[in-house]
Amino acid sequence: MNQAIRHSWVAAVAMFALIFGAISYVQVIGADELKANPWNQRAVLQSFCNDRGAIVVGGSPVAESVESGSETCAFQRTYPQPELYAGITGYFSQNFGATGLEQSMGGELAGNSDQLFLDRVGQLFLGNQPKGASVELTIDPEIQQLAYSLIPDGQRGSIVVTNPKTGAILAMVSKPSYDPNLVATQDLAAAAASMNELVKVPGINLNPNVSGPTGELLAPGSVFKLVDTAAALASGKYNKDSELPNPAELPFEGIQYRLPNYAGGNCYTRDTASFAFALQQSCNTPFASIALDLGRDAIADQAEKFGFGQDMGDQLKLDYASGNTFPDDLDGPGLAQSVIGQKDVRATPLQVAMMTAAIANDGVQMQPNLIKTLRSPDLRVIDEPQPKQLRTSTTPAIANQITEWMVSAVSEGIANRAGVPGVQVAGKTGTAELGNGTNNSWFTGFAPANNPQVGVTIVMEGVDINTGAQLTSPNAKRIFEAVLNK
């Protein structure tokens, strides 16, 4: 018996030998690999109490580190205009790590980036606290404030304002927003309690890759008809004078379902329609007919060329939703519904804004850009991103043709409330039915049409037809005026 007891002890010691090996592997041998894992937030968090660089808009900080007065944690990250910029800055929290620019520009803000190498060497000799670079944004504070105020409180929605020629983002807002100070506080219990409440708010812009203008995938409705139009013209089968079939309802073989035109508009007045009329009145059946004629791939390819579900370049510096947004396997009715922006086709507000920007910029899509300059602690400019082309979405001829039709949609069509006196505005509205009686109401457009200075994309979620109409085109007009009168 004693021999067996000794053997059992040896077995137990052998198990412990394995444990010692496993601990050694995790804590020493394999530790570097674990530290480099992108899910490992500890490096970010170790700098929690340091003085980070500021995120600056129009000369004033929207995220900055201030002395906290605490001995153990010298600096507190604060957000002077919290809700207005939360979707862009993100938060920097001891409990929850960092999001938004706080995360993506974390290395620069903390002063660890290669560009700050010389500053770090200097600090080493002078014994100064390391201080990070400050990041100045392309955002125009007045336009940002205006756009934010144009979404009523309690209304879910996003607005993106860009410069189509440079890709610079002038304003990017969404509601509901939140106060990043609540989760960035050094009072960790309070931060945890706040986060518990925040995650319950539907549609809140906590994660730029799943919510807000960059992340929330929405049915685009009729603004997707711009994709169809570009695809039709690019195919060579259609030109600016083509007459498109415009039945009140489009039947499909073998099933009951019929795709209708919108009952309230003027579409029913004609059996055939020109592109100009179909876009002005946003008729459904002409575009469904085009898609059934060209096939799914032609539409999906054009959507990709406009950047749907595609890479957004390396200047945005914010996470965004990615992946295929135009469904793969579609039957006839499915395709017909998808090409009018319904069913399963999805796009983020920023993607729609980029499509419009490409049309405005002669078919060339610029990289969306949030960063104007990066400055070292002594205010020396260490980086200044230049406008970069992202991709060619369509030809200049097609872009100009679509622009012409978008102008007529504002001057004579259903987007007329976006019109600005004395300025040619190009625009397209969209209404995606959500199936519960409410809609996603869209406007996307740019001005002036012949020399685009500003692109505006607005979406209001879950609204009735009238509310949607009031909150989109008229608001776009106010933003156009605000930018153009500067």
Binding site: A11, L34, L188
Partner: protein, 465 residues
């Protein structure tokens, strides 16, 4: 047992010195926690420290009085582990949380129960009379969490909790003790029978099928725990406990072979049939894939964050209160090993694991020294159970094996675990007392009432042959 030829020495003063050292470790750790959080030496600290010290010294006093030959190393080790656990739990308490004081309360209760066991039981051999009562108790304890009304329902995927008023309790922790008592009693009575009969196949002598009853029982218990309570850890623990005890009882490696074959077969079938087992294993192998990491519940976030923490600790650790173990879910219970690894480093964690190694080694030592088969089996079984439990927990946290819900003895926050493990300590101390003391030739006092339980009947074995 030639080592007993010298005159037995109680070594209680050695224990006292080691105990003071252990208290210094535990209280010192608690103090460091306080220093880092700017609240050292507040009334809480003095209150907790003095209570722990008083309890440890009372325990020591009881040993002087009732079990003066008990192993002098066991109590100090356990007090040190318990103290380190208290410090870490205290350190992890967010403002307003009171897990630390709750753990202290349970420590005191558990120590009191262990003292009561030593005080009233006097001699571990008395437990042999409760062989079948222990079996019944084990069955009851294991079924309780499944009984509607008492069951606390499914918590974190496992049904192992019962609700007693405001408290929850994990009866499976206590079941490992009652099962060990049952196996020890049954095997010490029937070992001759199992030993002598059987067929020889090559170098292995296999038992007769009719003698495999207890093995089948143990297997069914383990599989039942796995299926109905969804508790992989306890299942492994119970079956490992049984295999070791039957191996020690018979010295036959064939039992281990049969046992491992049964658990492999049962485990394989369970992995095929029950999604929770399959998920566990898949999650273990693919912990670093986005799919598994983001899954909730049952994702690998917990273990991956634990590994990050341990990697962050490195060789020497961040220091108590300086790391971020709070980023890991269940940092003060299931993942307390990762928390210790982060803040105490490889060196500190090795020291903790070495203490466990010393603890179970002293338990095996008691098994070697004691003269009755029941005591040998019980000490060996309980010691191995502690070792196996540590292996399953620490192996799980370091991703050596799939993570299970077992608790780290004496360290993890949780009352049932503390209580059960302190009772084990009480039993080991008592067995070591008889092992190290002068040979006691007085027979056990006869049990009250009938003794017709068929426990101590070597003649029956002859009859069967």
């Amino acid at each position: 047992m030639s080592q007993l030829s010298t005159l037995p020495k109680p070594r209680r003063n050695v224990e006292l010195a080691l105990l003071l050292l252990a208290l210094a470790v535990g209280i010192g750790a608690n103090m460091l926690v306080g220093v880092d959080q700017e609240k050292a030496f507040d009334s809480d600290f003095w209150f907790q420290s003095s209570l722990l010290a008083v309890a440890a010294l009372v325990f020591h006093g009881v040993l002087r009085f009732r079990a003066k030959y008990a192993d002098p190393v066991i109590l100090p080790i356990v007090v040190a582990l318990n103290g380190i656990g208290l410090a870490m739990i205290h350190r992890l308490d967010a403002p307003g949380e009171d897990t630390g004081n709750n753990q202290l309360r349970w420590t005191l209760i558990a120590m009191a129960v262990a003292i009561a066991v030593i005080w009233f039981l006097k001699d571990h051999r008395i437990l042999r009379r409760f062989t079948f009562i222990s079996l019944a108790a084990s069955a009851l304890l294991l079924i309780l969490p499944l009984v509607p009304g008492i069951s606390a329902g499914e918590i974190l995927g496992a049904r192992v909790w019962i609700r007693l008023g405001p408290m929850t309790f994990q009866p499976g922790e206590v079941a490992k003790i009652t099962l060990a008592i049952f196996f020890a009693g049954y095997l010490s009575s029937n070992r001759d029978l199992i030993l002598l009969a059987g067929r020889k196949v090559g170098p292995l002598q296999f038992p007769r099928f009719k003698d495999m009853g207890p093995m089948i029982t143990a297997w069914l218990v383990s599989i039942g725990v796995l299926i109905f309570q969804r508790d992989l850890g306890s299942s492994i623990l119970f079956f490992g406990l049984f295999i070791v005890m039957i191996y020690v009882a018979t010295s036959r490696i064939s039992w281990v072979v049969i046992g491992l074959a049964l658990i492999a077969g049962g485990g394989f079938v369970a992995a095929q049939v029950f999604s929770h087992v399959e998920l566990r294993i898949y999650g273990w192998l693919n912990a670093f894939t986005e799919e598994v990491y983001g899954r909730s519940p049952g994702g690998s976030l917990q273990i991956v964050q634990g590994l990050f923490g341990m990697a962050n600790g490195g060789l020497v650790g961040t220091g108590l209160g300086q790391g971020r173990p709070d980023l890991v879910p269940f940092a003060n219970s299931d993942m307390i090993i990762a928390s210790l690894g982060e803040e105490l480093g490889l060196i500190g964690l090795f020291a903790v694991v070495l203490m466990y190694l010393l603890l179970f080694t002293r338990g095996f030592r008691a098994a070697l020294g004691t003269r009755d088969a029941f005591g040998k089996l019980l000490a060996c079984g309980l010691s191995f159970a502690v070792a196996l439990q540590c292996f399953v927990v620490i192996g799980g946290v370091t991703r050596l094996i799939p993570l299970t819900g077992l608790t780290t003895p004496f360290l993890a926050a949780g009352g049932s675990s503390l209580l059960a493990n302190w009772i084990i300590v009480g039993l080991l101390l008592m067995i070591s007392h008889t092992a190290r003391g002068p040979v006691d030739t007085t027979p056990l006092p006869p049990a009250k009432g009938s003794e017709a339980t068929g426990i101590d009947t070597p003649t029956e074995a002859v009859k069967h042959l």
